[in-house]
Amino acid sequence: MIKVDNVEKYFDDLKALDGISLNVGKGSVYGLIGPNGAGKSTIIKHLTGVYKADKGEVYINGEPVYENPRVKEIISYIPDELFYINKSSVYQMMKFYKNVYRNFNMERFTKLKDVFTTIPLNKPICKLSKGMQKQAAFWLTICCNPEVIILDEPVDGLDPVMRRQVWSLLLQDVAERNTTVLVSSHNLRELEDVCDAVGIINKGKMMLEKSLSSLQGTVVKYQVAYNGEAPDLKEKLDILHVQNNGSVYTYIIRGESKMIEDVLRSFQPLIVDVIPLTLEEIFIYELGGEDYGFKDIIL
């Protein structure tokens, strides 16, 4: 559904995107994660047709996005910094979107009034709180009935109840209409619950792009207790991180879990436990090799 093919983007001398590629299947929820300044918002602006790639191309439904109204009409985009025309109210913006997006669903808009009960219809959106503005954006976006929804830090500013509500609406849309969602967020805990696949980018490059389940299978966390001194595993395993507490060692290891377990058991430890790895841990330890990992610094 979404294909980014070897895109490069320069801001004067700064190479913001360095040959980045990604693929998002139809009807999936794709999480785009990366440290600050990695190029997430830049790639999103390419996906929405705002930026033109200096090299490479961005396709949606097999067609280039830039300067292509036919493709842009099936995309809805919620940026991290919202914009509404000339102090428009939700009602005025609804009328605007209704004319701009042919698939705009008025019936849905009316139904969703019951969800977004706190949002006044006729008050200028710019005078609402940040969270309410975000809610208004979701309300209008969902009603456009897009085939692709692109979200940049979507739930930032929403209260926990509204976060759940919004995600529920989006996932309902994915289930019912086979909508494709690409979401960029720093809230990895939330992404873990909703994403089918993730892409980790850093310094404008795609470091890792996998389905969440296979990603969790390629980096594993083991807790091992030894009877005596711990063996040196560095030459046998790709250890991303190690931490010990007495005789108990916690390893984050990249590789196939069966092979790792066999190696660990060959040293006859007292205990070998596999602990589920969170997306946040994968993010931290994958980026550790890129000089971005969490550092145990005591000041």
Binding site: D12, V50, E67, P69, P79, F83, N86, N99, V100
Partner: protein, 514 residues
């Protein structure tokens, strides 16, 4: 498979275009409503009021408000363009509009066309109202109104097109306003500034570009209240300024240039990167032009206007020239640094552009040398009479309090006169006055003695008391056969022009004394 035709139909009949137009009408209402009110107030309302209260029944000259309208629509055209393309100055707004399902061409054309038609609404409204009032007070106004309407439509397109171009090039609202103003008067401003600088370096010569006094009349529609009686109220406008020939030439020129500027603006808009929003200049190549253009225009401006506080009315022209040149080089370099500060929006730029500063210094020294030594012979250049189509000489004797010494104890009072003469087709007269021009350029007069009559005795006026270095202000304007115009202003002693004054009344002359 869609045909190419269907693609364009898709773009230009996109349902969202209607939304954009409605949005444009709503967001610009203060501009078109304000213009409607203002034009209604100064033309039909004033016309009706004066027509009704014209108790003595004489014919009235209505020219001032119509001319005023030409001037007053300019800021509205500028505001309309900047309002409609203002989204390009904010990244968030730019991202919003560029993510909508339009091509940039659709967005541009919709904004340009809707904005232009919104500017025409007040003109149509006021035009119809004025025509009806004119007919009701028995004035023959229809032909005039058609010409007036066409002229204003063309002028609107010209100014609007120009500002749209500026809005595409400059990514900050304030920069767009300022640069529209600067660029609009660029030629006049720069020629005036460098002309003045030249005058200070070459004491007897001023290259000047001057505006006709009449332009200031546009500022005040109140002149209408003077209730000037004329034979035919619209005679002057129809037969003179608004002659059919002039109307069509002006209308055609403004439409062609306006459309060309919009085409360039569209081309640049398609090339403009969204991420440049908020930058002062949005195209890297134009940043260089901005920087150097700003340095030399603002540098010359500072030299003239701030230099005036430093240089007093010294007769030591060498000293004045040296100070002026030094100031010029300093201000050009300073302006270059200021231009970089504006572009990069920070103060600490010196180290980054140290080599460019050096280049600006060298270029400013070269320009100074060109000005001082008149390397291109600007001051000494007198046009070939055979290439002159028309020549206008305007001579004003500045002072009637002083006398010149004729010898043998005889003194003659200077005339207090002004002569304006347009020599057309009379090659002998044109040759005669180009001779005078040549003579003036060859002289190097540094002082001139003046006498004042007091209690029957003539005494020399000291330089401290005498404010004029020379007695006669002389404008010479050539209109060349190739269509170009050259203007010169000289301050010369009365003796130089005395013999030529009678000639001003010869040939096809259109002179005035006042």
């Amino acid at each position: 498979m869609d045909s190419k035709t269907s693609y364009y139909e898709y773009n230009y009949s996109a349902p969202g275009v209607k939304s954009l137009i409605i949005n444009n009408i709503k967001s610009t209402w203060p501009i078109w409503a304000g213009l409607t009110f203002l034009l209604s107030w100064i033309i039909p309302v004033a016309m009706l009021t004066i027509g009704i209260f014209n108790f003595n029944g004489s014919k009235i000259d209505y020219s001032a408000p119509f001319s005023a309208a030409e001037f007053l629509i300019i800021p509205f055209c500028v505001m309309m363009a900047i309002r409609l393309f203002g989204y390009l100055t904010k990244e968030r707004a730019t991202n919003f509009y560029h993510s909508l399902p339009y091509t940039r061409t659709t967005l541009f054309v919709t904004n340009v066309v809707s904005g232009y038609f919104l500017l025409l609404i007040p003109l149509v409204f006021v035009g119809i109202l004025t025509t009806l009032i004119g007919i009701s007070i028995k004035e023959n106004i229809i032909l005039f109104m058609i010409k007036w309407f066409l002229l204003l439509c063309a002028e609107c397109l010209y100014v609007y097109g120009f500002t749209v171009l500026m809005a595409i090039i400059f990514g900050m609202k304030i920069a767009t306003y300022v640069m529209t103003l600067i660029m609009a008067f660029y030629v006049i401003a720069i020629s005036n500034i460098y002309g003045t600088l030249f005058t200070n370096l070459h004491t007897t010569v001023q290259n000047s570009f001057y505006l006709p006094d009449g332009i200031f009349m546009f500022l005040s529609p109140a002149t209408l209240a003077t209730n000037i009686s004329v034979d035919e109220p619209f005679y002057g406008l129809i037969k003179g300024y608004y002659s059919f020939e002039n109307v069509w030439i002006t209308v055609s020129q403004e439409i062609i240039v306006g459309v060309l500027m919009l085409i360039v603006a569209l081309f640049l808009y398609n090339k403009r990167k969204s991420e440049r929003s908020g930058e002062v200049v949005t195209f890297n190549i134009l940043k260089v032009i901005f920087k150097w253009g700003f340095a030399f225009s603002f540098g010359a401006f500072l030299t003239i206007f701030l230099g005036g506080f430093i240089i007093d009315n010294s007769d030591n022209y060498l000293a004045v020239g040296c100070i002026q040149t030094g100031l010029y080089i300093f201000y050009v370099v300073l302006s270059f640094i200021i231009a970089e500060m504006i572009l990069s929006k920070r103060f600490n730029v010196f180290y980054k552009i140290r080599f460019e500063i050096l280049a600006a210094f060298i270029v400013s020294v070269i320009v100074s040398l060109i000005l001082i030594f008149d390397l291109f012979g600007i001051t000494g250049h007198v046009p070939d009479p055979s290439k002159v189509d028309k020549m206008n000489i305007d001579i004003t004797v500045l002072n009637d309090e002083y006398y010149k010494h004729l010898g043998d104890g005889k003194y003659q009072k200077y005339y207090y006169d002004s002569f304006e003469s347009e020599k057309e087709g009379d090659i002998k007269l044109i040759e005669k006055f180009t001779e005078l021009h040549e003579f003036i350029t060859e002289q190097n007069v540094e002082s001139h003695m003046h006498y004042k009559k007091h209690n029957g005795k003539y005494t020399v006026v000291s330089k401290d008391d005498y404010s004029y270095s020379y007695d006669v202000k002389m404008y010479i304007t050539y209109k060349m056969k190739n269509g170009s115009e050259t203007g010169r202003l000289y301050m010369v002693p009365y003796d130089y022009v005395e013999d030529y004054l009678p000639l001003l009344r010869e040939g096809k002359t259109n002179y005035g004394e006042y």
